[in-house]
Structure formats: C-alpha cells, structure tokens
Symmetry: C2
Subunit: 495 residues, 2 copies
Amino acid sequence: MEERVKCKSLHSKITSAKEAAGMIKSGMTLGTSGFTPTGYPKAVPEALVKMVEKEEDFKINLYTGASVGQSLDGIFAEAGIISKRMPYQTNNSMRKALNSCDVHYADIHLSHFSQQIRYGFYGKIDVALVEAAQITEEGYIVPTTSIGASPVFCSEAEHIIVEINTKKPLELCGIHDIYQPEDPPNRQPIPLVNPVDRIGKPYIEVDPSKIKAIVITDLEDDPIGFAPVDENSRQIAKNLIGFFEKEVEVGRLPEKLLPLQSGVGSVANAVLKGISDSRFKDLIFYSEVIQDNVLDLLDEGTFKFASGTSLTLSPEGFQRFYQNFDEYRSKVLLRPMEISNNPEVIRRIGSIAMNTAIEADIFGNVNSTHIMGSKMMNGIGGSGDFTRASYLSIFTTPSIAKNGDISSIVPMVSHVDHTEHDVNIIVTEQGLADLRGLSPVQRAEAIIENCAHPDYQKPLEEYLNKAKEGSCHTPHTLGDSLSWHEKFVQTKKMR
Amino acid sequence: MEERVKCKSLHSKITSAKEAAGMIKSGMTLGTSGFTPTGYPKAVPEALVKMVEKEEDFKINLYTGASVGQSLDGIFAEAGIISKRMPYQTNNSMRKALNSCDVHYADIHLSHFSQQIRYGFYGKIDVALVEAAQITEEGYIVPTTSIGASPVFCSEAEHIIVEINTKKPLELCGIHDIYQPEDPPNRQPIPLVNPVDRIGKPYIEVDPSKIKAIVITDLEDDPIGFAPVDENSRQIAKNLIGFFEKEVEVGRLPEKLLPLQSGVGSVANAVLKGISDSRFKDLIFYSEVIQDNVLDLLDEGTFKFASGTSLTLSPEGFQRFYQNFDEYRSKVLLRPMEISNNPEVIRRIGSIAMNTAIEADIFGNVNSTHIMGSKMMNGIGGSGDFTRASYLSIFTTPSIAKNGDISSIVPMVSHVDHTEHDVNIIVTEQGLADLRGLSPVQRAEAIIENCAHPDYQKPLEEYLNKAKEGSCHTPHTLGDSLSWHEKFVQTKKMR
C-alpha cells in the first residue's frame, strides 16, 4: 500500500467502493478516466449501480476520454442512470440507449473536448473518477493504461475519487507525459516538435485536498478484442502501400514517410501488417491507440517510436509489454488526448491520417458515424482532428457491406463527418482514388472508376450522368440522392 | 522608378505587359497575388487575354490567394482560358464557368492551400505573377494591399513576373509581416502568440534571378462594394451582442472578449456596427479582410488592433487609410493567408469565429457554398479554418431568403461544409441557438424554437416528430429530408 499511495496524508482517504460511490449524487457530472476500453474505473461504478438500484430518477452525466468498457458504459446504460454522455462511446448498451434518445449523446472532436470542459461549455465537473497505478508523495496521480481526458477532469472537478488498481503494474510509472495548455488569451505554443519529445510530467498534478476517496481494486478491464484481417482488408492495405511507394518515388513523401495515425479495426490492422511487410523502416507512429500489432512493429524495427493516449493490448500483449518494459520504456509514450489529437501538433509533425469510413460519396464526403443517416454507430472520435490537420488524409472502406446489399460508395452520404474539403485519398479493395486538386466531377469519376464495386459502378455512373444534365458544379438530383439509403431502409438492399 | 525598383540589377527586367504575358504558355500554372478583389495583377492578365484571343486551346491553371477581380478572374473566364481554378472565387463569369464545368474548380480551405502547394499536391507553379509596391535593394518583393498566397507562389514558382503598381503608395511598405513555415518533418511552432506580434519580414524574400519581368502599371483594382446593413442584419447583430454580454457575465468570455474573426457582407457589417455600439472596447480583430468599418472601430477605440491578409477598402477608405497612415501603421498588419488562417494560431489565441451560412439544418450542419446542393456560390474560403479551430464558432443567417420562399433552416442541408461537430452557435433575426453539449434532438428543438422563421417552425417540427418515430440518434426520414430543396428546384418555393 505504501508503494501505491506514497502520500501519507492521503492514507486516511482509503475507503470502500461503496463509500466512494456515495459521494456521487443524482444531477452530478462525473468525469472518468478511460480511452478505448482500458484504464477506466470499475469498482466505484459497480458499487454506484448497486447503490441506486432502487432509486428512481437517479441520473448523472458521464464524460470520459473516449470509449470505456461494459463495466462502466454498459452497466450505467443498462441501469438507466445516464442523462448526458460525451464525447465518444462504443458500447452496445450505450449505443442502444442513445439511439432511443434515452441518453443525450453529444459526439465531439476529441481534441476539442478537454479545452471546452475548461472553457465551461459543458458545465461543472462535480467528481473526477480516475484509475491510477500510484499516488506520488506529493499527492499526484499516475494514470494506468490510458490518459484520455483525466488531466482536465482532475484539474476542473470539485472532488476526485481515485481507484488504485493493483492489477496495473507500477512499471507504468514513467510512461506518461502529461501536459495541459493554458487557455486563450494566455496559451503558448505546445512545445512538442518531434513526436518523441517529452513536454510534461509523468503524473497528473492535482491539489491533493481534492482527493476525497481512494479505493483499492484489482478488477480487470474488459478483455479487448483484436479485429481479424480479412482478404478485402489485405487488398486495401496493398493498394495503400503501393500509393505510399509511389509518393516516395515522386518526392511527395520522405523515405521514412511521416508520422502515421491509424484507427482501429480490421482494415487498420491490415494496413499496419502491410507496412510491416513493406520496405519501410524506422517509422514514427503518432496516434491514439497502441495495440498489440504496434508492439510487433516496434520489435522488428518498422516503427522506432509510438505515441498514443491508450495502451489497448490483449492480456498476452500486456504480459509481453510488462516483461519487456525496459525495452519499450524508451519507445512508447502516452499523452493526454488533448495532445495526442492536437491539430497544432498534428499539422506541425505532418501526420498521415488513416481512418475508416462507413461510407463515402462520389464527391469525396465521408460518413464515419451514422448508419443510414440516423443511427449512431460510435462517434467521430479523433478522426476529424487528424484528418483536417494532417499532411495527407486517407479514408479506407471495403467497397461493399452486407454481402453487397450495401455499397460503401454512394451518390450522397447520408451524414457528413468529413467534408469534400478534407478528404485527400479514398481506398477500397478495388483501388485508390487520389482526390487532391480535383473538381467534384473529376472526383466522382475517379471514385467510381477506382473505388466502387463493379456491381455499383454502372448505377453510380448513371446517377452522375443524369445529374450532370443540370449543369452544376456538384451535380446532384436531389430526389434521387439518398434513394439508395431509402431503398435499403425499406428492403434491406440498396439494389 | 529608382524608388519603386531599388534593386539596380533588376532594372533590365522592366518590360511591357505584352512582353511579360508572352512568358505564360498554354498548359502552365499561374499563381497570382490577390485576396478579395484587391492587390491582384491586372496589366499582364489583360495583355495575355489579348494575346491569345485567336489562339484555340490556350488553357492555363489559375491559382490565387482567394477571390480576385473582374480584370483577372472575369476576363480569363470569359476568354475561356482556364482549365483549373483554386482555391476560392467570387466572380460572376468564373462562377458561371465552373458551374457549367468548363472550369475545374477545387474549393480548398485557405489555410491548407499554401502548404499543399509546397507539398507538391497541385503540381508545379510555372509562373508567379504578383502585384508589388516596391522591389527592395536585395530584390525582395513588397506586396500591395493583400498578401494571400503570394509568398508560396514566389518561393515555388520557376519564374516570377512583378507588376509594380504606382497607384499603390509606398506607405504600404512596412505593413506586411511575411512568415512561411518549414514543412514537416522540420516544422517549428509558429511563434505568433499575441495577435499583435510581428514574426516575419516586411517583404517576400525571393531569389531575384527568378524575376524575369517587371511591368509598371497604374491600373486600379475593381471598385469594392460594401454590403449595406438591413433590418434583419441589425437584429442578428443584436442577438449576437446580447449573447456575448451573457457569456461575459457567466465568465465564459473575458471582458475584452477574444480575437474576433468576421466574414464579409451585410450581416458581418451589422455585427461590427453592433459591437461598435456596445460597451465592448479594446478588442482585437484577427481575421482575413480589413474593410472600411474596421477603420471606424479602430478610430473610436473599439478595436485596438486589426490583423488580416487583405486591405479591402473603398476608394474613400484607402484615401483615409493613406492620409492617416502614421496612426494606422501600429494598428494594422497584413499576413500571408497561411498565417492569418492558420489553425495553430487561431486555436492558440482563441478566436471567436463569425461566419455566414447559406443554410443550416436542424441538427447544426452548415452549408456555406452550394445553392440547392449543386450550384457553387463562392467557396468555403477561410470559414472552415476559423470555425474548426476557434474558441467559439458562430454562424449567422437570415431565417428566410427570397421573400420567404426559402427557409434557411431546413431538415437536412443540401451540402455540408461545417459539420454538427463544429458549429457552436446559430443566429438568425429570430434568435440564437446555443448548441454546445446538446444531442441532435436537443439541437433540433433549440434551432427550430430560436432560429427558424415562424412560417417554417411548424413544418420543421412535423418533420422532426415524424422522423423521431424511427427512434434514432439523429432522426431523419430520408425520403423527405431533401424534399424542401427538391420542391424549390421544381416550383421556386420551398412551401
């Protein structure tokens, strides 16, 4: 215990999860640690749900870094105790709750969220609830496997509850680099120039008197799945790597590329595998989420450094990480999401942003969030931060979904998260469309020819040709533009 | 002449517009000065159009800072000599040409354009053609009344043609602050911390040997109109100023606000007039375009400093500016658009971004560019740069257009330039909707109640209520979502 809570004056705050949960009252806003289902609090949420089981009308707002696990988002949503949820989620029960409008969900660019909490846009944070590996002698908090928005929750909250998780080894101390910018008009340049730079402290500096409860727990994060790589994903990766090679050849990318950002999922995993198999070496990974495959690329020398805001490893991945910590210590860094996703930094270092689209339209607009225009899938997460500020913005998607009943390339996307102004490259297993400097009609021709599935090429061409009769910059026949989605809603088939 | 072309070795380059125009060959890409119709070249374009009158298939690409005047965009479009046009325009003839797809127009975030030229995304710049007040002893170029993208054109172009415009007084020397960032992976923080900071040089540093022709001219810029303020605009301004006062009261904005960015046009002018009439003093204007009304606000002390990339004054405004230059010299600064619009700087200083929407939908998405989803009006310009990176993003629009035949608040915008993730505040003459932290349905309720015209409130409510039966995060009935626009295209009335 002395090792985990080094600040002696805080020993008196060690208490039960139930006691700590009692500090969270209906109407409060709770800001928790967690980014992807790792590093989020579990003991106090479980106790809170038990405590308010029979309490009607108990409602709180839940703000997190990004997605958190079933044992936080899931049980809160199932208990019906959430009023407002921000800024991102991926949980089945939470998704159901927000799509039935039982939960008010605001889907926010992750880089905006922390500063807008400080600006007071989202009200007061009553309680910060953060998982920690350690509390230092000074009473400062060392996070565990993710940082997310914990620094801002701790600085802005009235009270702090800490869950010390003894399953998270003390080796994690030192892997974090915590920096919080000042707010305008006093903000200074963020001094991160090279992705490997350390610019902050290895802990979250807090006023220790705000720490009202410390709960000791050994609850595990929900196990993290790793999306398998299928043949389509492999082909998407191949198309993309071929493009990188060509860009290097013509001098638009350096031989060591530029810092890579990658989403998660099957295609993202395939792309990293493709890079691993390519001639590229000594690359930098500057992204949000560090998964098992990033360790592979670090081990083999494809990557020389990885910066993120969460370590989202499988149990085997964590074992490997902790066993070889001496080696990884100098190659892996976790930052607050306000820094990992900061457009100032991303634009400066010149990220190559690689994110997945739910669908893209022939003019290059991308939908990352909504199924058939209405149903929220997860949220925009960091894809907008990276896409807009990147050196090169890339979206990947298989050309079809649901065995071909859905075309991922459509006349008009049913929801826009990334506009035609922001999307440089679209890649499917069919090929790659380079949209840079093209007019809308030229983009449409490139996307239909290179990205659309053969079964949908002709219908897309017909749509474009009919719309072109109107003689406009972005040809659309408004009555037909969303008809594919409409047909799918009615018949479960776009064709 | 010695005063205007101080570099003696360049005197031999002084030549006629016709001679200079002869250096521009079909297939070339021309990068010119100009941002809003001011500070763009006029003599060489006129000579070029004359020269190629009878030449069939003469086509060039025209890249500029932003919009330029009739005597460049207009005559080139009318002569049919443009193949590709980037990144922004406002000219009638050019608009017609790009909407008939005779010109390939790529509508680009202005802050992206300069760096993407350097990255090589848009091909080689063959000739930079820039209007200058002076060439220094070293052979460096002092721009005139706008900077735009001239620095990057000069650094990247193979050849440079300079139009020395003797109608632009030498007093302009010193008003420019030219800084060009390095490209990744070598980029450093942009050292602009306070909007008044000077971080560069008062001229564009060029390799003088690239200057192949110098043309002396006294052609005037096209006269600049100043949009009159109508009653609706005044009411929009009133709603917005009331909001600022409330934000100051609750502590979310400082008493001197934060640096203001403002688009141009009737509503923008009304807002500046409203600020002038308010209690706010000593404000900073950090924007793109400095118009006559900015001088008013500087004179009276409402503004203490104005930074932009163009001086877009009326003839009387220029007279006043030059006559009182000693006073304005310390209060007005022009920067390259890569800096005036730089998200790094905008986010750091915490801009209040105020831009006009063509239409907004009930969920907070904004269309800034396309009439009825297809016809390009002008382009996104800098609105995306400021909106995304701002402290607070605001869109203004009258609630109706065409005497009420068009509602500016619609179920779904027909084109998205600013997504629901990016829009904080929408203001019409009816009222103001504060969308911060709201879910889509809450946003819809706020926008319909506060911003929609009474004649359209009920139809919007009906749309929302019907769509809500589908029980989804962002309720839409896809078959109806664009039906208002469709009806307008067919009947010239949305109702």
